[in-house]
Each structure stands twice: as structure tokens, then as C-alpha cells.
């Protein structure tokens, strides 16, 4: 089994991390559009989306039957399925893979739930190390302000209500997300995450991302642009 940091694939893997409300998904989708416009073949994989286990997770959450351990393992199963089916094959083929949340989400959340951090790192040892892992840094208050502006009620597990931190969901959310931020901050150095100041303007953040991504894209496959160029030359030909 190839472990973290030992895989050698021609493709590139970019992942975004941060708490809800940090704007990471917006940034990733802007990056996605730009990479495609540049002619790269881009694949996207999202946390907790494997068709295999999604329903188990959903039911487990709905019925509040998940413990910190089963919460952790069901997400690891989801991640393994996506690694084996959505992440590794395109990377082998030389494509660009974008992931919205990665193993660092599991490390932050599960540790905040009391799962042993060293055990978690062993559990996820099969994961491919990202080319760049972006961490969108934001204060809890700012994230909450943004979430309030756009969103409905807080969810049970997202607020860490399973931990009995507080009977008040708002308060529980604060304590739990605060713990998650603490874990992310510890991981910046451990995993060499690229910190993006999520309070900057959207354009500014995107510019920083593109710059970092560009540096790693030398010799990466561009199939689409070739197709476009061919079409362009054909079009030219017919004009003569």
C-alpha cells in the first residue's frame, strides 16, 4: 500500500480546507472554471459524497446513531471509496483533481470529538498527499456572521451536539467549531498547508490561489486547449 507522500502520479491534486463559512467552496469553483478555461482536464471530488456510503451516513446522522468512532470510520470509508474511484484514476491519467475538504477535515473534526490524533493519521495513511493544500483562515465570529446571513438552522453534528457540550445549539456550535479551528491551526505546519486569509476580497484570494497553482502546473496535460486550437485552425482553413 502506497502511503501519504509516497504516491508518484503525473496529475495534480489541489484541496481546500477551512470551517464552514470560510468561502473555500467558492474559491475552489472559481479555480475549477479557470483551470478548465486554461485547457486542463479537471475532476472534482467532494467530502462525504461517495454513492456507496452516502445513505448510511445520512441515515446515521438523521437518527443520531453515530458515535465519534463510527462518525470517523464512515467518513473514512467514504473517503477511501472516492480515493480509489475518483481521485487516484484521474491522477494516474495526468489530470487535475480538486477536492472540497480532504483528510484534514477528518483530523480536525474527529479530534475535536475526542478520537486519538495519531490513530487518525494511521487510518488515513492511504491518502494521496495533495500538491497544494489550501487552508482558508477565518475567525469564528466572522464565519458565524457569514453563515447567519445566508443559511438555515445549524445541524446537529455540525454543531457537535453529540458531544453534550451545551444544550444550546448556538453555544455548542461555537465551542465545537472553536476546537476545529484549533486543530486546523496545528496542522498548518504539520502538513505544510498554504494559508489563505479568507477575509481578503474574493478576487485577491483567487489571485493568490492561481499563482500558487500555476507554479505546480508545468508539464501537466492540457487536452482541451489542443482541441480548441485544432478547431480554430480548422475554422481558419475554411475561411480561405
Amino acid at each position: 500500500m502506497k502511503t501519504y507522500g509516497k504516491h508518484r502520479f503525473p496529475g495534480r491534486l489541489f484541496v481546500v480546507e477551512g470551517i464552514d463559512g470560510s468561502g473555500k467552496s467558492t474559491q475552489l469553483s472559481l479555480l475549477h472554471k479557470w483551470l478548465e478555461s486554461q485547457g486542463y482536464v479537471v475532476f472534482f471530488s467532494e467530502w462525504n459524497s461517495s454513492p456507496l456510503v452516502k445513505n448510511v451516513t445520512r441515515r446515521g446522522k438523521k437518527k443520531k446513531m453515530l458515535t465519534p468512532m463510527t462518525f470517523s470510520l464512515i467518513h473514512a470509508t467514504d473517503f477511501a471509496d472516492r480515493t480509489e474511484h475518483q481521485i487516484i484514476p484521474p491522477l494516474k491519467a495526468g489530470a487535475v483533481v480538486l477536492a472540497d475538504r480532504y483528510i484534514y477535515t477528518a483530523f480536525a473534526r474527529d479530534v475535536a470529538r475526542g478520537v486519538n490524533p495519531e490513530w487518525l493519521r494511521k487510518l488515513y495513511a492511504f491518502a494521496v498527499k495533495p500538491t497544494v493544500g489550501f487552508y482558508f483562515r477565518i475567525s469564528l465570529d466572522e464565519a458565524v456572521r457569514r453563515l447567519r446571513a445566508g443559511r438555515k438552522a445549524l445541524k446537529f453534528y455540525e454543531a457537535g451536539m453529540d458531544l453534550g457540550l451545551s444544550d444550546d445549539i448556538e453555544e455548542s456550535f461555537h465551542i465545537f467549531q472553536g476546537r476545529i479551528i484549533e486543530q486546523y491551526e496545528k496542522m498548518v505546519e504539520e502538513f505544510g498547508l498554504q494559508v489563505i486569509d479568507a477575509t481578503l476580497s474574493i478576487e485577491e484570494q483567487q489571485a493568490q490561489m492561481r499563482q500558487l497553482v500555476t507554479q505546480t502546473l508545468t508539464d501537466t496535460k492540457k487536452t482541451r486547449i489542443r482541441r480548441w486550437l485544432d478547431l480554430a485552425s480548422l475554422a481558419k482553413g475554411s475561411q480561405v
Binding site: L52, V56, T67, P68, M69, T70, T77, N116, W119, K122
Partner: protein, 235 residues
């Protein structure tokens, strides 16, 4: 001091001192008669006034059903499959076995982490990794390994249910047909089990004998185990 311990980091939020029952595991390949003996042990223990819980693979409330469905589709990668089984196991451990142990039950487990590890390793999963995963598990009071040789095993399967896709390791493409594949797969599994006898201290029981003889052995050993550790002196 708590009588129970985990293989490693274990589960968060569990007070091992609260566990009072007995955790007894039956291991062995398909066709060795594990489920028959589990059922016999259960009846015998209950007749003798012991409360018993039986836990079997892919029977968790959380993941059992989906896991059985997923197997039918044959689309699981080896790491994913290992983790799905681990989820099923952890759910049964936390929500069935541990509560029963707290209540002082005898918990009989039809295949524990050893089968899960052996299957994963045979499917090419890193053995160190899969052992790391199961550092979450509770160490059982005893593991009875019902052992028969490969030739005997083949005869039994032929007489019984026939070759099953997964039990033949057909996903591994080990042979031209179900038979070749079955022999190769089961031999590899057997080798993994035999390797674990010493490292995990299995109690080996020769299961090639009659049901009566095997059960007689099991009863004797279980009795010894229950007696040995039954009168708990609280400190």
C-alpha cells in the same frame, strides 16, 4: 484496575472499568461450523443462567444492510471494503457488545477483527495498516480458533452451500474457475489465520472431529474461563 483493555488507542468516551461481562470470540474459516457452535454455546450458557449476546459480521444497525448490498455489486475497492467492515464492527462494538458487557453478559462473537484483518491482507491491503485500524478494538477474554485443513474445508463446502463468490475470492482472479479460486483463496486465508495463532494467543480447536467432540472441548474451555474470572473481587 479494569479487566478489559483495547488493542491500542481504543474508543473515545468508554470507561473500561464499567465492563463486567465476558467477551468470547469464535474464529475460523467458512464451513468449520462456527455458527453451529455459537448457537450451541448460547443455548448451553442460557440454560445455565448466563445472559448471552451474539454478534455477527455485517449485522450492525448502522452499516450492515448497505454493506451486504454493496458486496452484491462487487464494486468495492479493498481499502474501502476494509473500512466499511470496520464501521460495521465499531457500531456493533459500541452499540451492542460494550453495553452487553456493562450489563454483565457473555458476548459471543462470530468472527472478530481477526477475520477482517485476514481478509483484508489476502486482498492486498497493508497488514500493518489494517492492524492499526483495529487498535480501536477491545481485547477479547478468549479466542477459540476452530481449525480444519484445506482438504477437509473443500469437502465441507461442497457438501454444504457450494462456492460463494466472495468466499472463493473471485474478486481476486486467483484461478480459472470457482474451484481453483476457492482453493487458492482459502489457502491464503488459512495461512493468515495460522500466522495469527501465536501473535494473538488463539486457543486452537481441532474442528475436523464430530460436532459433539468439538463442542465438548469448547464447553470445557469456556467453563474454565468463566470460572477463572467469574468471582470479581472489587477493590
Amino acid at each position: 484496575m479494569a479487566r478489559f483493555s483495547f488493542f491500542g488507542e481504543g474508543l473515545p468516551g468508554i470507561d473500561l472499568g464499567e465492563l463486567k461481562g465476558k467477551l468470547i470470540v469464535l474464529e475460523g474459516m467458512d464451513g468449520v461450523g462456527r455458527s453451529t457452535h455459537i448457537e450451541l454455546l448460547k443455548q448451553w450458557l442460557e440454560t445455565n443462567g448466563r445472559a448471552v449476546l451474539v454478534s455477527s459480521m455485517t449485522r450492525s444497525t448502522l452499516a450492515g444492510k448497505r454493506l451486504r448490498q454493496a458486496k452484491e455489486g462487487h464494486t468495492l475497492g479493498s481499502i474501502t471494503m476494509s473500512l466499511f467492515y470496520a464501521t460495521d464492527f465499531a457500531d456493533r462494538l459500541e452499540n451492542a457488545m460494550i453495553p452487553a458487557l456493562k450489563a454483565g453478559f457473555v458476548v459471543l462473537v462470530d468472527r472478530y477483527v481477526y477475520t477482517l484483518m485476514a481478509r483484508a491482507i489476502v486482498r492486498g491491503v497493508d497488514s500493518e495498516w489494517v492492524q492499526d485500524v483495529y487498535r480501536l478494538a477491545l481485547k477479547p477474554d478468549g479466542v477459540f480458533y476452530l481449525r480444519v485443513g484445506i482438504d477437509e474445508l473443500i469437502t465441507r463446502v461442497l457438501q454444504g452451500t457450494g462456492f460463494d463468490y466472495w468466499e472463493s475470492g473471485m474478486d481476486l482472479h486467483l484461478g480459472e474457475d470457482m474451484y481453483d479460486s476457492f482453493v487458492e483463496y482459502q489457502s491464503r486465508l488459512l495461512a493468515q489465520f495460522d500466522r495469527m495463532v501465536e501473535s494473538y494467543g488463539f486457543d486452537v480447536i481441532d474442528a475436523s472431529r464430530s460436532i459433539e467432540d468439538v463442542f465438548g472441548d469448547l464447553k470445557e474451555r469456556v467453563l474454565r474461563m468463566l470460572d477463572q474470572r467469574a468471582p470479581q473481587t472489587t477493590s
